[in-house]
């Protein structure tokens, strides 16, 4: 029993970072109907930026202050990156068929991954944050991760449901052209969506970098799993992303540590993709998503 609870806690803390990334997928999908496949790489860039900030500041100020700077710096950098990606890669193609945007997203993803593998940017060798920063949360890492993602998600939900910007965001996601006719600056809303999503991904990136290490391809698997989490929760639905993320984290951990016999644990990653296929077959709108009729 004790071991099962431990496995569940591990699952929750892994799931919390999936949830943070999934929020970005879901928000962008909500307003643009676009699966932004470069999102996992924005998470990686967050971790990389944090690495450089930590390296510069450590030794000059107390570790907790360095950690605050790392989080803030990574979030700001990724907000700018998210804004630029949308502005330069997606906006010029907004009125093209959806497939064009999707392929562009994959292109942006490859660009970021390969840029970060250049030696003068980061290089392919995994690197770790300084130990003082890595161990800043000590043994409370899992609760802190979980708490942080809950707080951020609550803030996001409040923003979407209670503020004027949130209202505009919902309007854009409900009906793009009608929102424009009502005087909403849709470009601004879309930029904001990308910035929020990227900022959350940066937080997830820094958390995972503290827990593991930093590598240019670190965004690939978490990106895919977070995408599955978003679909599981109901893509376009904000609480759905959190539920989906936590569920994927728990399912994955239970499979690896409890359900699958040891010889088969390496098939755990496949399980996430089986889940994706099953949801798409059985309940394409996801757990919390509403079924919508495609208007032709």
């Amino acid at each position: 029993m004790h071991a099962l609870i431990e496995q569940l806690l591990i699952g929750l803390s892994i799931g919390a970072t999936y949830a943070l990334i999934a929020l970005g997928y879901t928000m962008v999908y909500g307003v643009l109907r676009l699966i932004n496949f470069a999102h996992g790489d924005v998470y990686m860039v967050g971790a990389v930026v944090g690495y450089y900030i930590a390296g510069q500041l450590i030794g000059h100020m107390p570790p907790w202050l360095v950690l605050v700077a790392v989080f803030l710096g990574a979030v700001v950098a990724c907000c700018i990156l998210g804004y630029l990606i949308e502005l330069l890669a997606y906006r010029p193609l907004r009125n093209r068929p959806r497939l064009v945007l999707l392929i562009t997203a994959i292109g942006v993803s490859l660009l970021l991954e390969n840029l970060c593998q250049l030696p003068f940017i980061f290089g392919p060798t995994p690197r770790s944050y300084p130990p003082e920063v890595r161990e800043a949360f000590g043994r409370y890492f899992a609760p802190v991760t979980l708490g942080l993602s809950l707080v951020l998600m609550t803030l996001l939900t409040w923003m979407v449901m209670k503020t004027k910007t949130g209202l505009a965001l919902r309007a854009v996601s409900f009906r793009f052209d009608a929102a424009q006719l009502m005087g909403i600056n849709t470009n601004r809303i879309i930029s904001l969506t990308f910035m929020f999503g990227s900022g959350l991904a940066a937080v997830a990136g820094v958390l995972d970098a503290m827990r593991y290490d930093v590598r240019p391809l670190m965004g690939v698997m978490p990106g895919l799993k977070a995408f599955i989490a978003a679909v599981l929760g109901g893509i376009g639905n904000i609480p759905g992303a959190l539920v989906g993320g936590l569920l994927i984290g728990i399912i994955e951990t239970l499979l690896r540590g409890v359900i699958l016999p040891p010889a088969y644990t390496s098939y755990t990653d496949a399980a996430a993709f089986v889940i994706l296929i099953v949801i798409l077959l059985v309940k394409p709108s996801g757990l919390l998503g509403r079924a919508t009729q495609e208007k032709v």
Binding site: P124, T125, P131, R211, D213, T253, A263, S266
Partner: protein
């Protein structure tokens, strides 16, 4: 139609270009002798590549300072494979086709040596691996690969020695954690389990993939079995994460593994203090051959050499010796000379290439203590095979 013409023309030109270059090298008997090295200079196992490269570079510099070999200088061309098996294939092809290498040195990781070896077999260029220990690197399906050699021991020996070490320590319950994406790890794990079976019980047999970064699930399950120690036949990048996470979930038993642990990071980590690993060489060896090498290496690079640097150095020396003895800088003559290497005095021990193209050498078991690796015990092939 025009597109097809263009494509065909490009293909023909490429083929012609490659042919020319290859002929040009094979015919050249003046100018520098080109030795190609493919190594993981960056990526997940960068410590292996950079370390073995330094050793190799030192061997070649020494040879060139002493007037070269056969009256010619040696030129080392290094291709980085970024710790990626596909890049390794491309790197070896480039070294042979565009750089005109007459011999190839590489890799440390067995998976990449297997891939690179296949290319060397196809182009009939000898390849010498400094440190790949998986048996299949030189012998696959009972057949010896004519063009592939190594100067280190193999995993049937290393796994058995690790098993013997666990028995010598009095450990009865061992958990194993294998990287199923690496031929090295799978091989070592298999031979360890065979060897340990008669001395105790394998209480957990867990696995991970080398893209994994979270090992807490497996470690939690291992902790439930209360093992005396955990055998981790993987590479240092994952090991570091595993050791840190084991400490964080309160799993305090010793960890031990093979030469894949060899890197400055492993020894420096707080999480691996009190752990053990088997390796090719120990800096504690008092013999002048070893101590002189450590001094020379330190003077050149400003640091103490690890086992990979020692093997890189020995690989360079063995290749130079083969070129010298063969009397010709062409692939076939180097191959024949390599196959007849006998009692070559390497820093990592005496090197004799056997019929399976392997070297029969002793292994050292090291303990990580006070952020340094200390010699615990030496295992010779004879005492392990008993």
């Amino acid at each position: 139609m025009r597109l097809i013409h263009a494509a065909a023309l490009t293909l023909i030109l490429c083929a012609a270009g490659m042919g020319c270059k290859k002929n040009a090298t094979a015919a050249s008997s003046t100018g520098d002798i080109v030795i190609g090295e493919f190594a993981s200079m960056t990526g997940g196992t960068a410590a292996f590549g950079t370390s073995s490269h330094d050793g190799l570079l030192l061997a070649i510099e020494q040879a060139n300072n002493a007037g070269g070999v056969l009256g010619r200088k040696i030129k080392l061309v290094t291709a980085d494979d970024r710790s990626d098996v596909n890049e390794a294939v491309t790197a070896v092809q480039k070294l042979i086709n565009s750089d005109g290498a007459v011999a190839i040195i590489g890799e440390v990781a067995s998976k990449r040596s297997l891939a690179g070896g296949a290319i060397c077999q196809r182009y009939k260029v000898p390849m010498l691996s400094p440190a790949s220990t998986n048996p299949a690197v030189t012998v696959e399906d009972g057949k010896v690969k004519p063009w592939v050699f190594r100067i280190c021991f193999t995993d049937d020996f290393q796994g058995s020695a690790d098993g013997k070490f666990a028995a010598d320590k009095g450990w009865k319950r061992i958990a194993v954690l294998t990287d199923v994406d690496e031929d090295y790890s799978k091989g070592l794990s298999k031979f360890f389990k065979l060897a340990f079976a008669s001395h105790g019980e394998i209480v957990a047999d867990e696995s991970y993939r080398n893209s994994d970064r979270d090992f807490q699930s497996q470690l939690t399950r291992i902790a439930e079995k209360h093992p005396d120690a955990i055998y981790i036949p993987g590479y240092y990048t994952e090991l570091k994460l595993i050791a840190t996470q084991a400490a964080s979930i309160g799993l305090k038993v010793p960890l031990f593994g093979g030469d894949g642990w060899d890197s400055p990071e492993t020894v420096a980590s707080d999480a691996t203090q009190g752990d053990f690993y088997s390796d090719h060489y120990s800096g504690d060896d008092p013999s002048p051959r070893v101590q002189d090498f450590i001094k020379t290496f330190d003077a050149r690079f400003g640091e103490k050499p690890g086992a990979m640097a020692v093997l890189g150095y020995d690989a360079g020396k063995v290749i130079i010796d083969a070129i010298q003895r063969g009397g010709k800088a062409d692939p076939a003559s180097i191959r024949d000379a390599l196959a007849t290497t006998r009692d070559f005095p390497g820093v990592s021990g005496s090197i004799t290439i056997d019929a399976d193209h392997n070297a029969r050498k002793s292994l050292v078991m090291l303990e990580i203590k006070d952020h340094a690796a200390h010699l615990v015990k030496t295992y010779t092939p004879d005492e392990v095979e008993k």
